[in-house]
């Protein structure tokens, strides 16, 4: 087992720079998830760790050793690919044992490891099948099994679940979490699905355009995002953002006017307060809205569409000036068919961002 350290890693493809100096510390045994929108460089960063791409600049250490020039196979890592990358012409068993066989690993040891991996993943009955004869979830298991038999110190996953359908994805997600707790190995996991990130990670790394935006525990990112991007990225449905301007700012709090809510005012607890007159953004998660009067600032909404899911409902609403908001409500059978709604913002759970998107607190 081993930790992974990145120091100022830069990656250029030709003249295009796609990773702009990423530094990161992954502890031994930690489950780290890279998230970020498509094209932000998650896969690239992971492939640099794997050694499939060379870093243009910077250092990569695994278990305290500089590995920039170590061959991928010698880094003590194993990787699971988005498309599984199973050898289509080999049976499951051959897929699992291929690497060991090719490197002259003793037969018994190979068999033992394959057997163990198969048990961990419950694919014993599939050993004689070809990848084509497997379902998506089974393929995914075999791909993970192939990583397990290497007995690596670090597991790398590149969007391993994105080719599965929703139900299977949830199921495999739980299995991967279980695998991590069983093996206790360091894992680095790439996804663009924030739910996966929230549910799997010990530590989430949010990337954006080749830069690391924030690193932290899932709930910390949820509760305490560093900026508007992270705030918007974590949580589903997305956080609502409302334009506002600062009316007054005192030590430890600021009063802002929600310009699109007919001038409703709200006072938020911020210490590094903004200047009066600044354009700011107020962020409220759909699940944090309260019933009328129970928060610190009531706003009136016209309901566009209400989605009733049984236990909760999402209200898609707009304000007089057309700003779209989503409000989560506990399901109430009596509210079906309503046209208007008054929601209230609790100041403690609202966020304030400056014009550059930086979180103010």
């Amino acid at each position: 087992m081993a930790g992974v350290t990145l120091k100022n890693v830069v990656k250029r493809f030709g003249s295009v720079q796609v990773i702009h100096g990423a530094s990161l510390e992954v502890e031994d045994g930690e489950f780290v998830v890279f998230v970020g929108p498509s094209g932000c460089g998650k896969s690239t960063l992971l492939r640099i760790v794997a050694g499939l791409e060379d870093a243009s600049e910077g250092e990569i250490e695994i278990d305290g050793m500089l590995v920039n020039d170590v061959e991928p196979a010698d880094r003590g890592i194993a990787m699971v690919f988005q498309s599984y990358a199973l050898y289509p012409h080999m049976t499951v068993e051959q897929n699992l044992s291929f690497g060991l066989r090719m490197n002259g690993n003793p037969r018994e040891d190979t068999n033992r490891r394959v057997q163990k991996a198969a048990e961990i993943l419950r694919i014993n009955e599939l050993m004689k099948r070809r990848p084509k004869q497997l379902s998506g979830g089974q393929r995914q298991r075999v791909a993970i099994g192939r990583a397990i038999v290497r007995e690596p110190e670090v597991f790398l996953f590149d969007e391993p679940l994105s080719n599965l359908d929703a139900e299977l994805r949830v199921q495999m997600r739980v299995e991967i979490a279980r695998l991590h707790s069983e093996l206790g190995t360091t894992m680095i996991y790439v996804t663009h699905d924030q739910t996966e990130a929230m549910t799997l990670a010990d530590k989430i790394v949010v990337l954006r355009d080749g830069k690391i935006e924030q690193v932290g525990k899932p709930l910390d990112l949820y509760d305490d995002p560093a900026n508007q991007f992270v705030a918007g990225f974590m949580g589903s449905p997305k956080m609502n953002f409302m334009e506002a301007s600062v009316k007054s700012a005192s030590n430890g709090s600021a009063t802002v006017k929600l310009v699109n809510q007919g001038g409703a005012m709200i006072t938020l607890p911020v210490s590094d307060g903004p200047a009066v007159g600044d354009r700011v953004t107020v962020g409220v998660r759909p699940e944090h809205f309260r019933a009328a009067g129970q928060g610190d600032c009531d706003i009136d909404l016209n309901i566009d569409v209400a989605e009733h899911l049984g236990s909760t409902s999402y209200i898609y609403a707009n304000t007089k000036s057309g700003e779209q908001l989503i409000v989560e409500r506990e399901e109430s059978r009596s509210e079906v068919g309503l046209e208007k709604l008054t929601a209230s913002i609790p100041a403690q759970q609202a966020f304030l961002f400056d014009a550059q998107g930086k979180r103010l607190n």
Partner: protein
């Protein structure tokens, strides 16, 4: 560990592989280009230079003289014209014929479909020789159509590969597309013409090139079915000159160049379609 020197060793390994790769490929490529180069060279030399004791590596200046002689003695331009016409008409007709058949086989269920498909697949492995004799007897003697455009163009129109090719292309298209048109009340033949055909454009482009090439280079059938100089295709005319003293080898090579260079230009321009066509034709 010194990263810099390590890095050099990694890239130097790559360097060695690059050199090895080119050490194999470059000489092979030269060998492969050599006949084409010699064709160009020969076409620009007078007879006595071709049959001289020295190797002529570089082109001379005799191209026009060779061409004029070739043209004067055989009317080669006429045969080129015949070849172009035949190839063009053949390609257009064949594309339509094979597309229609491919469309029917890809998109409809009808009685006898399995049999038609089996026959088409079967003829793929059937050497052309099995039919060439009766085809010749029929077209030439029974129909009396030797030396006609019809004889040059129509009998070769049957082309299993093209049908399979188009069928594959059409069946890869999402059926919903045609259902959508049906729901909109578009007639079947209009769906074929205005929806399916335009969508198959890349395939058709590849097919066109393959068909044109096949027709352009076809040798046996035009050799058999034509005996009149003014209906000869260029390859047949050229083939008949080999071993004749009347036209110099320089002239023959000029003819070969005229046959080859246009195809090479097309090849370079449309390489992507070409390669795709050949690959798809074989792989299905």
């Amino acid at each position: 560990m010194k990263p810099q020197s390590e890095m050099r060793s990694k890239s130097s390994r790559e360097m060695i592989r690059t050199i090895g790769l080119h050490a194999v490929l470059v000489p092979l490529a030269i060998v492969w280009l050599f006949p084409l180069w010699m064709m160009m060279v020969f076409s620009t030399l007078p007879e006595n230079a071709i049959f001289s004791a020295q190797i002529q590596w570089l082109p001379g200046t005799h191209f026009w003289a060779n061409f004029e002689q070739l043209q004067a003695d055989t009317g080669f331009l006429r045969t080129l014209f015949v070849s172009i016409m035949v190839a063009l008409v053949y390609t257009v007709l064949s594309v339509f014929l094979t597309s229609m058949a491919g469309w029917a086989l890809a998109r409809y269920h009808f009685l006898g479909k399995g049999m038609v498909l089996a026959i088409i697949l079967g003829t793929l492995t059937l050497p052309y020789f099995v039919v060439v004799i009766p085809q010749f007897i029929m077209v030439a003697r029974d129909f009396g159509l030797a030396n006609t455009w019809f004889a040059l163009i129509v009998p070769p129109l049957f082309n299993s590969l093209g049908v399979l090719f188009m069928r594959q292309s059409f069946s890869m298209m999402p059926g919903e597309l045609f259902d959508a048109a049906r729901v909109e009340g578009v007639k079947e033949w209009k769906i074929f013409l205005f929806v399916a055909m335009p969508m198959a454009r890349p395939t058709i482009a590849a097919l066109c090139i393959i068909l044109f090439l096949a027709s352009w280079n076809n040798y046996l059938w035009p050799l058999l079915i034509n005996n009149q100089p003014d209906m000869m295709t260029a390859p047949v005319a050229l083939g008949s000159l080999i071993g004749l003293t009347r036209v110099s080898w320089g002239g023959i090579m000029t003819g070969a160049v005229l046959l080859t260079v246009p195809m090479l230009v097309v090849f370079v321009l449309l390489q992507r379609h070409f390669v795709a066509g050949i690959a798809a034709g074989a792989i299905k």
